[in-house]
């Protein structure tokens, strides 16, 4: 199985899931203007080459557009849901600095991400093994028939009684 491209590690799931920039839900479009030559655009180029796949993997619903050699200096522009535009100048910055900057202004904070994780894990409607769910059995849910181990079932619901009735009749 051949490896494709110059840095095929960028295509691995492990690399992609290591991206830590998750945008807030109000960010809809991200635009990157950069140049293919020049020292000042080097950071932007590296950002586009290495970090944008990670960002797109974590934010599949954000549209990312790249514009090459259209402006003399490189910059990022974010278009939010309410029409607001956020401009980020990235001239003479390394790609790590750019990711940090973006994470700070428009990324979901660590606590928010953790809260979402926890909410995703503990869905209140389902039940199952204690490791993954809040309740293990249907008898633990409010409004359902209680566990016969603690509260005996009424006679009409017990197979013993029903069979006896049937035999009698």
């Amino acid at each position: 199985m051949p490896m494709k491209g110059r840095f095929p590690v960028r295509r691995t799931l492990q690399y992609l899931s290591q991206g830590d920039v998750v945008f807030k839900s109000s960010v809809k479009v991200m635009t990157v203007n950069y140049n293919t030559a020049g020292e000042l655009s080097e950071g932007a180029r590296k950002f586009v080459f290495f970090n944008i796949p990670q960002i797109q993997y974590k934010n599949p619903w954000v549209q990312i557009m790249l514009f090459r050699n259209m402006t003399p200096s490189p910059f990022l522009r974010f278009y939010l849901e309410n029409g607001e535009q956020v401009l980020v100048d990235v001239e003479d910055k390394t790609n790590k600095e750019i990711t940090e900057h973006v994470k700070k202004i428009l990324g979901k904070s660590k606590e928010m991400l953790e809260k979402e994780e926890r909410k995703k894990l503990s869905h209140p409607a389902i039940f199952g093994p204690k490791k993954y769910h809040l309740r293990e059995c249907m008898c633990e849910i409010e409004g359902q028939v209680p566990c016969p181990a603690f509260v005996p079932l009424p006679k009409e619901m017990r197979g013993k009684y029903k069979a006896a009735m049937k035999n009698e009749a």
Binding site: K24, S25, S73, D89, D92, K104, I105
Partner: protein
Amino acid sequence: PGPFPGLCPGWCPRAVPARGRKSRHDPPAKSKASRVKLPPPVDPEELLVVLERYRQHRLVLSALRAEFRAEVLQKKQEERLAAEGSVEELEEHRRLMAWNAKENARQQARREERVRKEKEEQRRRKLEIAEKQARKWEAFLEEKEKEVLQLQEEAKNFITPENLEARIEECLDNPRNYNFAIDKDGRIVKRTVLS
């Protein structure tokens, strides 16, 4: 027809048509000439009652559905608003935007500084080049001047048609001896006699 009476539709496409022996293009039989096909009899009061009941039932059901739909939408909106539109969130957002603007201003200052330095460099380099050019030109002119003066000096010793005779006489009167010997140490020995 079908395995599950509750699931099959009112009309199901039959694999084999139920027309029997004749196709639709064959004329009907003579015994059926006086047959009058009537629709099934309908009791008007029963029909009215049934229709009314159905109308009410459907009205109630659609109202309930709309009610539930609105409730769910409302809940979703509330949750979304609570997650995103709270006051602290907006404050935070404004703060971050202000910080971003500051960063941009800082970058702008840096960029202007850089551009200014670049311009200075360029100006300085241009001046240097102009100076070097000027110096080269001056040196060249000096060289040429020296050559002209040297030539003027030499012109005094030229042989012209006027002093040709005099110079020939002079040469013939003073014979010059070009014979000499040189040893390995560089000492010149002029002992040969001109004959």
